[in-house]
Symmetry: C2
Subunit: 195 residues, 2 copies
DNA sequence: TAAAATAGTGAACATTTGTTCACTTTTCAA
DNA sequence: TTGAAAAGTGAACAAATGTTCACTATTTTA
């Protein structure tokens, strides 16, 4: 059997369960009649960098997770169908540096479209102290989240939209206000109900 | 020990290795002196939905992976620091529906800024046959990737930018052209070198 | 402070797992 | 077509794993 199709089956199993199969389970997943077949397959996949071993356990390797990633455009680049991308990128790992202090917030409104943040987008927000002037931040104003660019001017903090139809807000003029965090990334999905 | 902090340790272990620790390994990870302590902890976490069990194996549960997700803005919503989000969202799973036929491409140029796709963004591209009029697509023109809106007019296919400074392209006028796939999502990371 | 509930311990044991080996079958190249 | 290389088989076994139990320590609550 082709190694690429076996790899896809392991990836699919891992996506579904969050773990790799044991050698016994590989019989079912890959159609083997023997446990040891799985064992030898894993050896091969370790060589390719798809899997790793660590004290009797099988772990995903660097080429196992993530998606094929085309970094830049080379002149005369062949169709991606023909040639495999050599790099893989995991969106989760790419977008989130500090998973312990990161939250996701769905954006309402169009006040930041000029900065490429559209209604329904999900912003990746790091809840770490220092927000600097020019950072895109999420502020909590009167219990509502709002995404704006933070501007520090004359010692005061302002929230600046990226859409001429909206006004600049004076953060401290709100009786109840706080900075939720700094926007470190944006994720958008097309073809979704935007309710 | 607080369950929340134990959970973070397991999450962190899982992020690093791609697998959950065995009960023996939990002694090291969680500071237990006994294997069975880990066993009872897992029981508790199964109740909370953080973990699952399936034939002698521990699997991540629905509340284990992903990030806290604030779906919508409720009036009088408390600070996220005070109240835990009840929902978790995995960016990978959210952004990618068909992992087997999806690739990532880094965007060059600013021809789609009007649609919220900026230079350096990563587009999530599904390499499945049918692209319809109005879809944002990636086309391969003379070996270069380009992101545009596909328009079908009078039986011909055009590539329409979302930036007035760029012209509409006639797809079939290029000697070598092909549709790479349909853009199903966008991921952007701030604070990155954009070379 | 005392009682009750929760969390952690350490030994024991059956199962399952990873791993090896000699062997057979299949695939591929000469 | 034949021979060599690669892939898969099935039995065997040691080591690691999950699981239970009776017990102790710690934390919580009344």
């Amino acid at each position: 059997m082709l190694i690429q199709s076996q790899l896809e089956k392991l990836r699919s199993y891992y996506r579904k369960t969050g773990t790799l199969p044991t050698y016994a389970e590989m019989q079912e997943v890959l159609g083997y009649k023997s446990k040891s077949s799985g064992y030898y397959l894993v050896n091969k996949m370790v060589q390719y960098g798809f899997l790793r071993r660590k004290n009797h356990k099988i772990l995903p390797g660097r080429n196992f997770t993530g998606l094929p990633y085309y970094q830049s455009v080379k002149a005369g680049f062949p169709s991606p169908a023909e040639e495999e991308a050599n790099d893989r990128l995991s969106l989760d790992k790419f977008l989130v540096d500090k998973p312990n202090s990161t939250i996701l917030i769905r954006v309402k409104g169009d006040s930041m479209t000029g900065a490429g943040i559209m209604e329904g987008d999900i912003v990746i927000v790091e809840r770490t102290g220092g927000a600097g002037s020019g950072d895109i931040v999420v502020a909590n104003l009167e219990g509502e989240f709002t995404v704006k660019t933070l501007i520090r001017k004359n010692g005061r903090l302002y929230l600046e939209p990226a859409n001429a139809n909206y006004p600049v807000l004076d953060l401290e003029s709100f009786p109840s206000h706080s900075l939720v965090g700094v926007v470190k990334g944006v994720a958008r999905k097309y073809g979704l109900q935007r309710a």
